[in-house]
Symmetry: C2
Subunit: 269 residues, 2 copies
């Protein structure tokens, strides 16, 4: 195992047929509890390290049932159905006996098929031509990602003005850099900050309720991307009575669409 903080954060100790134990990581601490993207990566890792795993992740949905407390958790990943080339997983994370996360995953052995060119990513400046943030964040997990914003960064003034849209374009990778894999890609898919902060220029309480990631690349393709950046584009769709949803796409520097992702968040006010 590398000594990268992501590897330390997602490490799990098997405790039985389908159960493992892990713990939250101070390196990925959020304002309250851990960064959701790392919790999602931990849930996926329970599948990835399961001895009965068939194939590679195709789809992951995680539902955040409660804020995790700092400390230990237990995660069960059960292969509910194993077919010839696909496998269906039910995942549940608990602390002190109470469910804090539910999830499902689909893994599959992929075959080569007709694969047309991906939808082209927007023409934007290359990562190293885009400035880094000037200061370290007070929120620790934010420092675990190198983010270079092309558009739609955090508001510079929180004056409550309606921006009318909520699109972000950003180059992202782990910090320090780390070779891409399914766990790190899951984390990166959750790096976009809440769309409502951007849309309203207002810091309102929020939390992701459910997040889905569809994986469009194999383990080998992710490894080939290595420590390269991903180009992420995210935008809110519906904002209605306490919940908003976000669509997102993630491309490699070479223009491969490696994942699409969606999430629904609650917000107050």
């Amino acid at each position: 195992m590398s000594d990268h903080p992501l590897d330390a954060a997602i490490a799990l100790s098997p405790q039985g047929e389908h159960t493992s134990r892990g713990r939250t990581s101070a390196a990925y601490a959020n304002m309250i509890g851990p960064f959701g993207g790392i919790t999602a990566a931990q849930a996926l890792n329970a599948v990835l390290q399961h001895p009965e795993l068939l194939g590679e992740p195709i789809a992951l949905t995680v539902n955040f049932a409660a804020a995790l407390a700092d400390g230990e958790f237990e995660v069960t990943a059960r292969p509910a159905r194993t077919n010839r080339s696909t496998q269906h997983w039910i995942i549940e994370m608990r602390q002190g006996g109470a469910t804090v996360l539910t999830a499902t995953a689909v893994t599959a052995v992929r075959r080569e098929t007709w694969s047309p060119p991906d939808p082209p990513m927007p023409e934007v400046a290359r990562p190293h031509d885009v400035p880094l943030p000037l200061s370290r964040s007070g929120v620790e997990w934010v420092n675990r990602y190198e983010t270079r914003f092309l558009e739609g960064g955090l508001p510079s003034t929180w004056d409550g003005s309606d921006l009318g849209h909520s699109r972000t374009r950003v180059w992202m990778r782990d910090s320090p850099p780390r070779v891409l894999d399914f766990a790190s890609l899951t984390g990166i898919a959750d790096v976009f900050f809440p769309r409502i902060w951007l849309r309203r220029s207002l810091f309102v309480p929020v939390g992701t309720v459910s997040m889905t990631v569809y994986f469009h690349a194999s383990a080998a393709e992710l490894q080939a991307i290595g420590e390269g950046f991903l180009f992420g584009q995210a935008e809110g769709q519906g904002f209605h009575n306490g919940y908003l949803d976000q669509k997102a796409q993630l491309w490699s520097e070479a223009g491969q669409l490696v994942a699409t992702s969606h999430q629904i968040m609650y917000f107050k006010e």
Copy 2:
């Protein structure tokens, strides 16, 4: 209970604390087994009719683990976590003891908040100005929906030419018409035919692996839409080595974004 075929199809008989029994419906038969949208509606209905239900659906993810056989199934819907205003569900459907579907749902009591105008739906002809299909479908479930295609209907010639995009715009409602609710909206979210048939003008084997629906309207708002049409827009994103994903939005005739939806399908060739 109404005598609408949808109500008959989603009817479940409680068998225990979290378990109900249902059966597939000939009215919603697909080429093999039932229409996935109705299976998703049945899974959601196990939550909707659960005596411990809190609030209304916010998010639903269903994973199709196996083709359902025509006949009976058992569905368990367990509230894994109940908070003050949100509830997290784990759902599993079985036939002959084997898992055929896994799912998660989030329900919530919503409050009025800042809710900006929805992203505008495209300016298109009104439903009654768009022609109906000329003939009845040989696939029974298709006849359970009134679909009026504005763009991206089924290819008129299956000649294998790459259309270069896969966008469909269509007015949809139940047939016969039925007052909209969460169960019928879930079915309608899956009415879009496989994006790869449109993109490639080629009839290849396909099947939905995972579908997510985010609900942006309340039960009362859906009821107010009544028997009105929904405008649906769907488009494929990534098509890669056997799997493709689809994004979709559903608006009411009045322009309310009632749901966003995503799915990932396998395809052969």
